[in-house]
Symmetry: C2
């Protein structure tokens, strides 16, 4: 098959991410569930806007690309709630790797290798770009929940320590954002949106 046809098949396959729904609620659209495609758009822009707070050098173009592709595996693997049982989360790893191979594998070889490497870098969260990307993926639900009476936290009895641990990439990487997260989490406990523990 010609490269162009492979690329178009991949682009059309992306439509399916618009039907993968997350736990976050969209207050601005009748509190419906958020899908992973629109979430990916918003965090790519969030990274663009907030990268000036990183105290290590971040390549914002790479971070945006990472965030645009990071959830594509959910087309096959589904979305798993961030605070789900650790056993469930662990089981996702191999399913997502298989999904990455099938989905990025729709592309011509060179682009398959490029996107798969970028996705693995994000998952490993070792490089500065990947840690910043992870941090963006995690701070956004906090912002959304704080503007929505606790949102998915309140519905799932999430604990303060879980949210802090999830946002900890920010601690060394963007201290101003980390301070903000710590303040917000304390407010959320006072409001009864997060459990104190």
């Amino acid at each position: 098959m010609k490269d162009l046809n492979k690329q178009f098949d991949f682009i059309i396959e992306l439509d399916k991410l618009k039907g993968i729904y997350r736990q976050a609620l969209i207050k601005a659209d009748k509190n419906r569930f958020e899908n992973s495609a629109e979430h990916s758009w918003q965090i790519a822009l969030t990274a663009h806007i907030l990268h000036e707070y990183a105290v290590e050098e971040v390549n914002v173009s790479r971070v945006m690309s990472m965030l645009l592709i990071h959830d594509i595996v959910e087309i096959d693997a589904g979305d798993t709630f961030a605070f789900a049982d650790p056993a469930i989360l662990a089981g996702q790893e191999s399913v997502e790797l298989e999904a990455a191979n099938r989905l990025f594998g729709l592309l011509p070889e060179k682009q398959f290798l490029h996107f798969k490497a970028l996705w693995i870098e994000f998952e490993d969260a070792k490089s500065t770009d990947a840690r910043f990307a992870k941090a963006m993926d995690r701070i956004l639900p906090l912002l959304q929940n704080m503007r929505n009476e606790g949102g998915s936290w309140a519905r799932h009895s999430v604990k303060k320590s879980q949210v802090l641990s999830r946002n900890q990439y920010l601690e060394g990487l963007a201290p101003k954002l980390w301070s903000y997260v710590c303040e917000q989490v304390d407010i959320a406990v006072k409001q009864g949106w997060l459990e104190q523990a």
Copy 2:
């Protein structure tokens, strides 16, 4: 107000784009209407994948940023169907400029100026980056309609000449993609999804 609070207000305001619905249908999600946030995600990725076909030098990072922000004005101005009455389309211009000022104006001055300039560059469609971005915004509905029995074209009695004219940025900029568009449009006419005219 501190810069960080302005930035978070803008990021949360973005949620509203998830409630702005377009004419395109998402076959992969029960043929519901597509919203402008998930559309922006998909065309940013489309640009990443297809920029190798541009015969002029394209800065893919700038193009992706342009595509991520190009529809934000719709939060205030609403979406207008691409093939709507020209008088309606002309009336949108001043409404969208006002929307750009209010929405990007939520950000600190420096980022306001950056995003507004990027949005105006896209709208003007004179630079190579902006023309390529426009082309991506326009080829994607073609791909979607071709996989969905004519989709929004068939419902609105759109003509072949309208689709060709809308995709004409590709003619000089990415001749291989332009050939593809011409072929697809002929197929669509044969299928009865586009009017021959």
